[in-house]
């Protein structure tokens, strides 16, 4: 039972790391390649062929798939807080690589979001439902 929970724990952390990194670099790449405006519906499609946007989409597909994989055994209310560190990392990406001006008020807001998301999953186990039977424990 101990090795089973250790296996679940390391699998959960590895998968969570992929989810977070794919999310942060995906969002960054999208913004990096995005033009200042998308005037027509067609421009929403053509923009997907810009290299940075295409990379961003690829990373966000990886994000979606890794997140679905994680959700196959972990509660949504566990996945949310663990992956919330993305908000801070995205803000740093905007600040360092995109030269965005982040006001102190916005930093406080971002930290409150992370704190709040951590509380949403506070003290919860990786799962609250049985993996084999689907029964609630």
């Amino acid at each position: 039972m101990t090795s089973e929970s250790a296996r679940l724990r390391s699998k959960t952390w590895a998968c969570s790391a992929v989810v977070v990194l794919a999310n942060v670099f995906g969002d960054f790449s999208l913004k990096r390649g995005m033009p200042a405006e998308l005037p027509t519906p067609l421009s929403y499609i053509t923009v997907l062929f810009r290299p940075w946007v295409a990379l961003g989409v690829t990373l966000l597909v990886l994000w979606l798939l890794s997140r679905m994989t994680l959700l196959s055994w972990a509660d949504l209310s566990y996945v949310l807080p663990v992956t919330s560190i993305s908000y801070v990392l995205v803000a740093f990406a905007g600040r360092w690589w995109l030269n965005e001006q982040i006001t102190p008020q916005r930093w406080v807001g971002i930290l409150l979001i992370v704190a709040g998301v951590a509380l949403v999953g506070g003290g919860s186990a990786p799962q609250t439902f049985g993996p084999q039977s689907g029964e609630r424990s």
Binding site: D27, F28, L30, K31, M34, P35, A36, E37, L38, Y44, V47, V53, L60, L64, R67, M68, T69, L71, S72, W73, D75, L76, S77, L80, P81, S84, S86, Y87, V90, A91, G94, R95, L98, E100, I102, Q105, R106, V108, G109, I110, L111, L112, I113, V114, A115, G116, V117, A118, L119, V120, G121, G122, G123, S124, T128, F129, P131, Q132, G134, R136
Partner: protein, 120 residues
Amino acid sequence: MKWLLIGIIIAATCVGEVLQAIGMRRHGEIADFRPCALGRAASTLARNWIVIASVVAMGISFFAFIGLLSFTDLSFAVPVTAVTYVFETVLAKYVLKERVNWLRWVGAGVVLSGVVLVSL
């Protein structure tokens, strides 16, 4: 335009994530990470209409997000969409029947206050 796009993102994300959680839970834990087993899991999931609907909702959310991202800062667009956590906590309790204790409700309230600060 900005708030319309944010509204679309929030609605589509919430619907998509709840459907995704239902669909994946119905599929069961993915335990085998060998490529052919992952391929089998993917082909099973591709025929699961709940998973398909969740991907469609995520797609709508994505296009609204790139629309928003084209004229706002990354450090505005990403945190402001965190308000979905508040709605998802409600949906986790009432649709997914997860046990949501008071700490999680406090957390949802703190997320909401953070989003308000970011968007002001």
